[in-house]
Amino acid sequence: MTPKAQERLLKIGLYASYAFIVIVFLFPLFWVASVSLKTQSELFEVPPSLWPSSWQFENYWHVLQTTPVLTYLWNSLRLVVLTVIVTLMVALPAAFALSRFKMKGKNAFLLVILMTQMISAVVISIPLYRLFASWDLLNHFLLILAIYVAVVLPLATWFMKNYFDTLPEQMDEAAIIDGCTRWQLLTKILLPVARPGIISVVILVAVQSWSQFVIPFILIDDAALYPVSVGVVNLQSTQAQITTHYLAAGSIMSIIPVIILFLLLQRYIVGALTTGAVKG
């Protein structure tokens, strides 16, 4: 076989495997979207049809009207936005200190931070549940927020520390000679340069907090406060089998915000995941 023919064969093989991978990963989403637009009788059709015969957008309307899915979405949105903001407020100064100051026991401290990242949320939620229940503090928004922040904080801090490490220290020296305080050095010099790193952290934190399940599931028992992850499970258990298309519509609504965020910021994601995990 000539090298040219060989390369052609290789390309065909690659495209075939690409098609297979894309189908494996997108088909489940396509199927749920399709189910969400079907009529009730179509759900039981044998054989099942891939496309809905008539696009039942009413299903979405029905879910919006009869379930608190909008409340769940709003709760999640509020929680995620505030988690991102507070996490940055705590992680950026900490990462700055861990990157720029000499201090005893710094490595040990970094290791402790890393360890907390590996601990299951189930394990920490149970003592917190007991504590909050005894003080009548379950369902407390600020406490839930603080736990959300703590859960993503190790990753955010490690990530930003690594990012600051890549910025040259000559910048600091120049700024200090110009009379900058440490605070000004962080806010006026380093943060603007670190913008790509910060965007990556924002994505990682936002996706993780949007998916967070165990903590609200255990620490919130007031359905009006459920974030969408817990809300969707709630829909799942209260909707009978017959309403699969409604559950599908609810699921699609719960992932639309992350998918949008994801597609908008996709170029930062690969970098974020790789640096976050490889160096962290």
Partner: protein
């Protein structure tokens, strides 16, 4: 610069300034949050595991009874077996699939094929979807009647219908499969990063020296990405040991206890069987698993640093 440390007349602002020039104030919020949200619960859960506390009474005494009961419970060892199966197969195939996808993408990029970004993004979407929603999505795919889409496809090639979620063995397989789908993206992206660190020159040189694709894979690619494979292995193992949300939505641990993995069994012990001691003891076991795997991770990481 003049020394300020011992100046008894230093103004409060100067002391404040001095303090800001040490790392400690910058780390206080972080430390406080981690202590309250991690350290306190860990101490508490260990204490609980050695006591006969329950969710209602405030009276309790210290005892080993929870551990004795846990190890003699008929469901304990099968639960560990289920977890072991789930973790082993999830991790193996997440690693393998992630690696294959990454290799295909990198190969396509070097040939300047169109569509590599589409492939990468499609896989990564699975990473962004909440675990509970993945559970719900797979529950729909796994519908056991002829109206179920997977069973429909299987019947086209003469297999099925399969009882994906109602048969205990199949249910565990189905949950594991869904988890492989969920976790492949993370492995893929790590491997992708790893593969990109291998210089093109080294690969070309090996090619010119007459190394075939298999030899190049064994002698050039594999050694170069071995540290990343190891790190990936540990991270996805920890993640899989801690899996709760997807299984909760997909099977709730059933049928029977056939898909009750360790994190789920902690929840069930405490909130459904009200057995705080046993749940806490199980938590301590999960905690020990997490800590020991983190220590392995650090060793690997430390080794990598010393070599480079």
């Amino acid at each position: 610069m003049k020394p300020e440390t011992n100046d008894p007349l230093a103004s409060p602002t100067k002391i404040k300034k001095k303090f800001l020039n040490t790392p400690y104030p910058w780390l206080i919020p972080l430390s406080l949050l981690l202590i309250v949200v991690f350290l306190y619960p860990i101490i508490e859960i260990v204490r609980m595991s050695f006591s006969d506390m329950n969710l209602v009474d405030s009276e309790y005494t210290y005892t080993f009874e929870s551990y004795v009961r846990l190890f003699t419970l008929p469901g304990f060892w099968p639960m560990l077996g289920t977890t072991g199966f789930f973790v082993f197969f999830s991790v193996t195939f997440q690693l393998l699939c992630g690696f294959i996808v990454a290799l295909l993408i990198v190969r396509g990029e070097s040939l300047k094929l169109k569509g590599t970004i589409v492939v990468r993004t499609s896989v990564l979407v699975a990473w962004a979807i909440p675990g509970v929603v993945i559970g719900i999505i797979f529950e729909m795919l796994y519908t056991e009647t002829q109206a179920g889409i997977l069973n429909h496809f299987l019947s086209l090639i003469g297999l099925g219908p399969i009882t994906f979620l109602s048969d205990p063995t199949m249910a565990l397989l189905s949950v594991t499969l869904a988890n492989i789908w969920r976790g492949t993206a993370f492995s893929m992206i790590l491997m992708y990063a790893g593969l990109q660190t291998i210089s093109k020159d080294v690969q070309e040189a090996a090619k010119i020296d007459g190394a075939g694709p298999f030899q190049r894979f064994r002698n050039v690619i594999l050694p170069a990405i071995a540290p990343i494979v190891l790190i990936n292995l540990i991270i996805i193992s920890i993640d899989t040991f801690n899996t709760f949300d997807m299984v909760m939505a997909l099977t709730q641990g059933g049928p029977g206890n056939s898909t009750e993995v360790i994190a789920l069994s902690i929840y069930t012990s405490i909130f459904q069987e009200f057995n705080l001691g046993v749940g806490a003891a199980t938590s301590v076991i999960l905690l020990l698993i997490n800590i020991s795997m983190t220590l392995v991770y650090l060793r690997v990481l430390g080794k990598g640093r010393n070599e480079s």
